[in-house]
Symmetry: C2
Subunit: 250 residues, 2 copies
Amino acid sequence: MPRYRFTLEYDGTPYSGWQRQRAGVPSVQAAVEKALLACTQEAVTVHTCGRTDAGVHARGQVMHVTLAKEWSAYRLMQAVNFHLKPQPVAILDARAVADDWHARFSCIGRWYLYRILCRTAPPALERDRVWAVAYSLDAEAMQEGANRLLGLHDFTSFRASLCQADSPVRTLDRLEVSRVGDEIHIVTAARSFLHHQVRNMVGTLALVGQKKWTADDVTAALDAKNRAAAGPTAPPEGLYFMGAVYPETE
Amino acid sequence: MPRYRFTLEYDGTPYSGWQRQRAGVPSVQAAVEKALLACTQEAVTVHTCGRTDAGVHARGQVMHVTLAKEWSAYRLMQAVNFHLKPQPVAILDARAVADDWHARFSCIGRWYLYRILCRTAPPALERDRVWAVAYSLDAEAMQEGANRLLGLHDFTSFRASLCQADSPVRTLDRLEVSRVGDEIHIVTAARSFLHHQVRNMVGTLALVGQKKWTADDVTAALDAKNRAAAGPTAPPEGLYFMGAVYPETE
């Protein structure tokens, strides 16, 4: 049966997260499945590359869907976007993929952006789009702390207690801190992440940026293999799922 | 009496514009005056550098207010920001200014940004923050057209019919078109602008970007001194009041 891969952008603010829940709880998955039903008359389940939590945004989420009927990928994208309105979800790209291509299981890399707005005034234009903090952060110090997390580690200290992954071991390929105007941007990439791993790393690096913690404290938190040893979970509104990587042979 | 200058950011989406209107019509001015009343117990009228239309945003709007009581500018900003919640308006900076300083009459320059998102998919994260068009635009061609508008001209063709300015003559100092990802950004600066001038220039340049018009057509529209000769008015949601310039002697 024909299978399609979609790249999605969404504003996570009004949703309880990606995953479909009981009726009446808004989710991105339910919005996409409803739009697909409206234009294809097929009641389908879509599969994502990575579920996002309530309030987390996406600029490059990836999912796939298998349909009974064949479509032009471009026409399917246009039809789904039409039926998604007025939801803040948009299909940016659609393409036909092989029967065995899977948004989650074929994925070999994911990357995220986290935005922190550092200023006294609350955000007016970027409300729900950034973590707004009233203090300044030292990006260089944060990068020193970030470097301690790169590579292969047991990330138990940065893993949500509800995380269902079999192993807490992950390889962190990228964790880059930069200043962009009055914002701090943190870009991170890995083959996969644990639940809340990005937000827990950001919450910890914010302690370093405030000079409450040193880079050595980050190493100590990692070595403790205990969630209570690391910093707090940064809020969801600063987090963006930016993109996923697949083998070129797809 | 002590006078204070504020720099403001706001999301123009929920407002009928800057200017206070009859009761029940939301405006940025009314929101700021209400917050000032709440924290100072003074019923005041605030004066802006330039009124914005319904749906137009600001990252650097400037206004002043005269109060009976003296305040620390920083404390005043904090108090006003507290009372502005949950309105999407924030005071980014506050400072005491001289008695004769005037947000509008002392201003010697204003600058704007206009954002056009060019892609098939509708905006999800940037909804109400960009003019979304489903076609591509040629930034280089638009810049050629823009260059025809630089300098001293009679801008009758780019002026709203309701514009109340005494003269249609203005000097356009800057009109720069650039591509930023899948957006076109147009930055413009002048001592002052006519009503709808920026949006009318953008609507005209969009015709050039689509190759429906040439740069010569822009010159012809300017020379016609007739609003009907230029392009349509671009929508408000792409426009940002970015900042105002004052003499350094202030």
